[in-house]
């Protein structure tokens, strides 16, 4: 209710209030619903970062010190919700920095509206479809906060290379969830495999599917060398287990998802080849920053650190806030969006991740390739794309 009266008041006054010494960070991510995985994880990292900045008494730009106010709302992956929330953030709350969305359907819905505010705010989202708009006129407000499979700097290319070099696979079976993520993977990787002269088979499954034996058996008939399964851990646990138990597949190639499902079945599989932006289990031991992050996470959420996918987004979005603050300091302003953007694109940030943005505003970061053999002995290769 408070929100209503307040926003009505503001609306009547028809002038967004810029609260004193508070930088408003908006967030539009799906926290619940079918497609909440990425949104949920990234929002965790951001909330943690905001909490730490404020606990440290905020940050100084010039001689003024600021605290961060996080205005997070749950889109449930519903474009309708998201577009209303963005309007509130930009017009009523007057937020100049919005994190999200990770979902492409949400992004394409808010894009025409967000465009009107070009130059007035920054939208730092991970949605794949941002790739189609970023760098085009009137889209200076876009910053793509996620690495991109395709393109010369993209990791997809490097992954497929590596696959060919290390396993000499000739035929790949693709088994993807029939939703945005799955569709995107098909569009990106089918051509990549073709380039390398690799044959592909494709099957899609409805989200929520739990029993894969039928479709796995079907794929196995074609005798492919390796299985390239879906992108989120939920089905991965089931796919890997059923594929090995049913003796359909023992080799796996992943560009999303985590090591978890592999480790669970380490004695049943021959090869588990996975793209991991950062291999936390290892980095935690070697890199104090990571160790601190994991500790803070446990303290803040009072639950164990999820070593599956959570680190991907949570840690990168954690970094992004600090990058943004860094940029503000460099720009000497908390609301000169253009300047702040310039600084963001100029810097290479060495936090949990080593991140920089290319000239268009797309994020580029190093990643690890983790390969596990039967019994679970693991080899990690760090790929530097900087």
């Amino acid at each position: 209710m408070r929100r209503l009266i307040w926003s009505l008041g503001v609306a009547l006054a028809a002038s967004p209030v810029a609260a004193q010494n508070v930088v408003k960070i908006g967030q539009i991510e799906a926290q619940t619903g079918a497609n909440a995985i990425y949104g949920y994880m990234s929002s965790q990292g951001l909330a943690l970062a905001v909490n730490q900045v404020n606990k440290a008494g905020g940050f100084k730009v010039g001689d003024k010190s600021y605290t961060v106010e996080l205005l997070a709302s749950d889109t449930r992956g519903d474009p309708k919700e998201a577009s209303i929330q963005l309007k509130r953030l930009l017009e009523t709350d007057g937020a100049k920095f919005v994190f999200g969305p990770f979902l492409s359907n949400v992004f394409v819905t808010i894009e025409p509206y967000a465009k009107q505010f070009n130059g007035k705010f920054l939208l730092m989202g991970g949605a794949t479809r941002i790739h189609d708009f970023i760098g085009t006129p009137e889209h200076d407000f876009l910053i793509r906060t996620w690495n991109w499979d395709a393109g010369p700097k993209g990791f997809g290319n490097l992954m497929v290379d590596r696959l060919v070099k290390e396993t000499g696979a000739k035929k790949v079976a693709m088994l993807f969830q029939n939703d945005q993520g799955g569709k995107v993977l098909v569009d990106i990787y089918t051509p990549l495999f073709k380039e390398k002269g690799i044959e592909t088979q494709l099957e899609l499954f409805e989200p929520g599917t739990k029993d894969f034996s039928a479709v796995l058996a079907k794929l196995a008939v074609g005798k492919p060398d390796i299985l390239f399964p879906s992108y989120s851990d939920a089905p991965l646990y089931d796919i890997v287990r059923q594929a090995t138990e049913g003796d359909y597949f023992r080799k796996f190639f992943l560009v999303r998802g985590s090591l978890g499902p592999g480790l669970k079945n380490k004695d049943a599989l021959d090869d588990y080849f996975v793209y991991v932006p950062k291999y936390f289990e290892q980095a935690e031991k070697t890199d104090p920053k990571i160790a601190k992050f994991v500790a803070d996470y446990k303290a803040f959420y009072k639950r164990d650190f999820p070593y599956d996918q959570a680190p991907l987004c949570s840690s990168s979005c954690y970094d992004h806030l600090f990058m943004l603050i860094e940029a503000m300091k460099k720009a000497g302003s908390v609301d000169d969006v253009a300047k702040i953007r310039k600084e963001l694109l100029a810097m290479t940030y060495d936090g949990l991740w080593k991140i920089h943005f290319d000239e268009k505003g797309e994020e580029v970061f190093n990643f690890d390739v983790v390969r596990m053999k039967r019994g679970g002995q693991i080899s990690v290769t760090s790929v530097d794309v900087q």
Partner: protein, 310 residues
Amino acid sequence: MKALLWVPFLVFPALVQSNFILSIFIFSFILAIAAVSFNLIFGFTGQLSMFHAAAFGIAAYITSLTASFFHVSFWLALLPAIGFTILISLIIGSICFNFQLRAFYFAVVTLAFSELARLVILNWNSVTNGTLGLMVLDKPFVWAPGAGLIKIDGVFGWYFFSLAALIFTVAVCSLVLGSWIGRCFAAIRLNEDLAQTLGIDTFRYKLLSFTLANTLAAIAGSLYAFYTGYIEPNYLGINQSLDIISMVLLGGRSSILGPIAGAFVLTGLPHMIDLSGEARAILYGLVLILTILILPQGLIGTLASWRRAA
């Protein structure tokens, strides 16, 4: 007299310019169209149809696809959408009502058909772009005296456009329900066997109710697509149907205007009070349960009965 109810809505944008608040109203108007029309078959004819979201979504797709493929205006593109909705409603309706599927079975069969529709749209990639959905770039035009052709774009245009559509829907519903057709719907809802022995062709009138409801939902769907500028298979999802049902229940299934109230509450509330996703889902569940167990007549119905009591 009833017309006066709309006056506040007409002057509202003059008072509140907030794009954020007005867009809540626009979504509420459009969803209210779907809810009011759903109430024709559910509240007034007593048949729980689960096909409503499907009609909404199918029409959204047909309208936007026609508009983009043939580069025709919104209004022209609306025609095939409505035509197809009528056709498919007649087919599904005559299957269900011919086989005398009652209550639960009717719900399940209509649900099955809408799931099939969703799966077709989801997997017909070449046309619907599957799960990635389609962007709808063009906007409808209307002719206004003096101003000539106006492009419906921006929040004020859409506010009055969707409001007009809602008023149209309410008008249609109240005319139909005020006529002998409305009496037949009531007869079917209250006692179908008796209705038959009194010479009412229940099959025909159930079919009529089902088709009319879906057709109005089709209009809502097309508006929704052109307003948000994006369509995806989830528009046909079960959740969409459930949302519409909850709006009707909350507002009250016994009145034409009830569902409008429901649409406003369920669309606006989440943005008025900040809640975590989980908390909201719990609240949503509680609202649904409590309305059914405590306010079976819904908000409007209860208010009305209080006034009568007072």
